[in-house]
Symmetry: C2
Subunit: 236 residues, 2 copies
Amino acid sequence: MNLLLLEPQHFIDERHAELDQRQLRHVLDVYQANKGDELRVGVINGRVGSGIITHLSAEKMQLEVNLDNPPPPALPLTVLLALPRPKMLKRSLQHLTALGVKKIILMNSYRVEKSFWQSPWLSPEKVREQLILGLEQARDTVMPEVILEKRFKPFVEDRLPALMAGKRGLVAHPVGGESCPHLISEPAVLAIGPEGGFIEYEVDKLEQAGFQRIHLGPRILRVETAVTAIVSKLYD
Amino acid sequence: MNLLLLEPQHFIDERHAELDQRQLRHVLDVYQANKGDELRVGVINGRVGSGIITHLSAEKMQLEVNLDNPPPPALPLTVLLALPRPKMLKRSLQHLTALGVKKIILMNSYRVEKSFWQSPWLSPEKVREQLILGLEQARDTVMPEVILEKRFKPFVEDRLPALMAGKRGLVAHPVGGESCPHLISEPAVLAIGPEGGFIEYEVDKLEQAGFQRIHLGPRILRVETAVTAIVSKLYD
């Protein structure tokens, strides 16, 4: 945790906050903090800055908060991710959030196992936990939006065109297409397939929706590695 | 496993190989392979291609092997990594190998905990296991070289200059320096600090050795994410 994320209910007044028990335990165990110490803090969907510990006991901790900076800029990127297996889903949500992605669409695809849609890790509370871990890692405060699209065709045909307005569409696919571009200037929508990749029908449908195939060379990378690689090439 | 890695002792003659028991179990359990199936294979430090299953029983499997392609190109990058904690070490070795790094130097730094150097995961057998997992992931065959440098100053002063010959030195550090460059044409040496980063003395020493500070913006990324991000920016 590189940032202590506060929520509105933690604030006593404009400049003072009191931690809840989970945060208190974490600060005591991990930071081994003392009265007078300064911690990096942020407010969910708000600014970041520092918090000086003004009161500390085993039951209670108060901070004097000075929120003097905006959160880091968001990436101008929407990610369409074929729903990964639960373990990968947790990691991918944390990872995309840490990178600065603010819109994540988990969608169906032929090679997504049906059981993945039953995962308890898709509940809003569990999703939120992973997003918060990603924000804390990257010292960000702005919660990403996560959308579930359980049917590929209606999503791509009916809702994707509106999402694409003014954006460049890129689908990561090892066959055909060009090497991933560097330093594009426009916002983009990036589609990433499941383990084993999209089937050709799906890539065709995405191409009809205006997506361009890109690849990362002959190495097969895991989904989260591929996402980091593409994001890093596209934007500075 | 996207590639079945064979070693010289598996070959019966130039075109035929017999798997060992560990590989046989894996092929039976994971691939659920049958006689006549074609698998992607490669030879350690050699070529890649296909293997057709010519004999398959619970005790024995033989392949007719056709090695018609070179492995994917290596990255022209040496990575100096401050020794991470054991769990991160495993992941980082796999990860760097999958990306195509062929020279990995695990080095000491002020913020590396002394106990990390005692980890059983540093034994040559355990390191090799992680490298093989990385090669199998990326369909590569060429084993990286892993070097341990337990003392920072003698390494940086005495041995690093020879490693740097003809290469660009880059040290990832959040303070000072410029944004990571894109698409450089020369080989490079990339230094990555421990959790909490290099101390200023260490960055100074690396700068004296010809390294240039680079950063990845205001987000704090995990070591393996930072490595992927930098590699992806530097090379196509």
